[in-house]
Symmetry: C2
Subunit: 221 residues, 2 copies
């Protein structure tokens, strides 16, 4: 259960879609690579896309030491991490009831910079493996110079909520159900297309194990 | 060319990825359904996922009249609309050079509520057709009561920038290219899974034309 500081992440609209349990929250964070990280600069809210990785009770992001956003976030500015998966289009009989199925997490708080050498290394590993599980073991590790150029920030998962919509359009039982138009859900599915080798890839190098595993069918029939 | 008010949307990190032309900006806005809309409430930045539709020089969002976010945004609070497509994972030989291919638009400004009856109807049509082109003509139009329950907001595309990364990892020409691990891009592809009819769908109703067109192959060979 994510502890909620005050009411700030209580879901007010469509509270039936709200979840505050860590199981739901963590599952969304783990399933989605992309976060939109929002902060305020001179009164202007700014949300930027970043990759995120959850490790235990924290969400990690990383970026260049030279980045204005990373400096501001690293200084402890109030921040919001929003992670959203769009799962489908919900097509109703009425324009009004058209909707989307989605999973999203809203996480409020402040980032803290990770500074310990070993902790930074572990965070780098988690962020690399979030892209492709096991990738860290196949690549050249960051040099001291590269580590110095990287800022890694963490936000505790304390003030968080999830919002999830699934299922058919909500006009399924009302008078609109008599309307003669198709209604239902169009699931949005995503996956990886065929790998594109870098033009400079040395000849004779096959896909590494972590990548091959990505393309293996998840379920065998 | 999007006029830039001051420097607020000038891309400072990786300026070689920046685009300010309306062609690039509009293409991203049109290709992506989901926006993350950020605003500030009591000093706390909040970014929430919303569907967006571009019409001409404006981006439209809609929501419930009762929504706190819609009220705040409709009152002209400083806002940020970020629209991102994650196109692929960029796998380098070094952990440090791992990245993502993406297209994103950052749009700053203030929303204004659309209040004229015809303009609201047109906006509703655009938002419905953003989900599925042509859907508006197949569904029951909003009733006066439904229109009254809906707030539609618009932000002018004046202060906007796009950021785009494409192509192979950037260690392709350096000394890391000698490292014996596969490097390249894993494209992320998405599409629609098989339609799921609403449980209450009247029997004998086929997929409507707008939906069938979605599933038709885009290119014929």
């Amino acid at each position: 259960m994510a502890r909620r500081a005050g009411d700030s992440t209580r879901v007010r609209r469509q509270p039936d879609r709200a979840h505050y349990d860590r199981g739901t929250i963590d599952a969304v964070l783990d399933a989605v690579l992309l976060a939109h990280v929002a902060f305020v600069e001179d009164g202007q809210p700014i949300a930027i896309p970043m990759l995120q990785a959850r490790v235990g009770d924290r969400v990690l992001i990383h970026g260049s030491t030279a980045s204005r956003a990373m400096r501001l976030l690293g200084a402890g500015a109030p921040a919001c991490v929003t992670v959203t998966a769009l799962d489908g289009l919900v097509l109703a009989r009425s324009a009004f009831e058209h909707s989307a199925n989605y999973r999203s997490v809203l996480l409020l708080g402040r980032f803290r910079e990770i500074t310990g050498e070993m902790e930074r290394r572990n965070a780098f590993e988690a962020l690399t493996n979030k892209l492709v599980a096991g990738r860290w073991d196949e690549v050249r590790r960051p040099s001291p110079k590269e580590m110095k150029a990287s800022t890694i920030l963490a936000m505790s998962i304390e003030n968080a909520s999830a919002k999830v919509r699934t299922g058919p359009p909500s006009d399924d039982a009302g008078p609109d159900a008599e309307f003669d138009t198709w209604a239902g859900e169009l699931p949005i599915v995503s996956g990886f297309g065929a790998p594109i080798a870098a033009p400079g890839l040395k000849s004779g190098i096959p896909l590494s194990r972590s990548i091959r595993l990505l393309y293996e069918p998840k379920e065998r029939t």
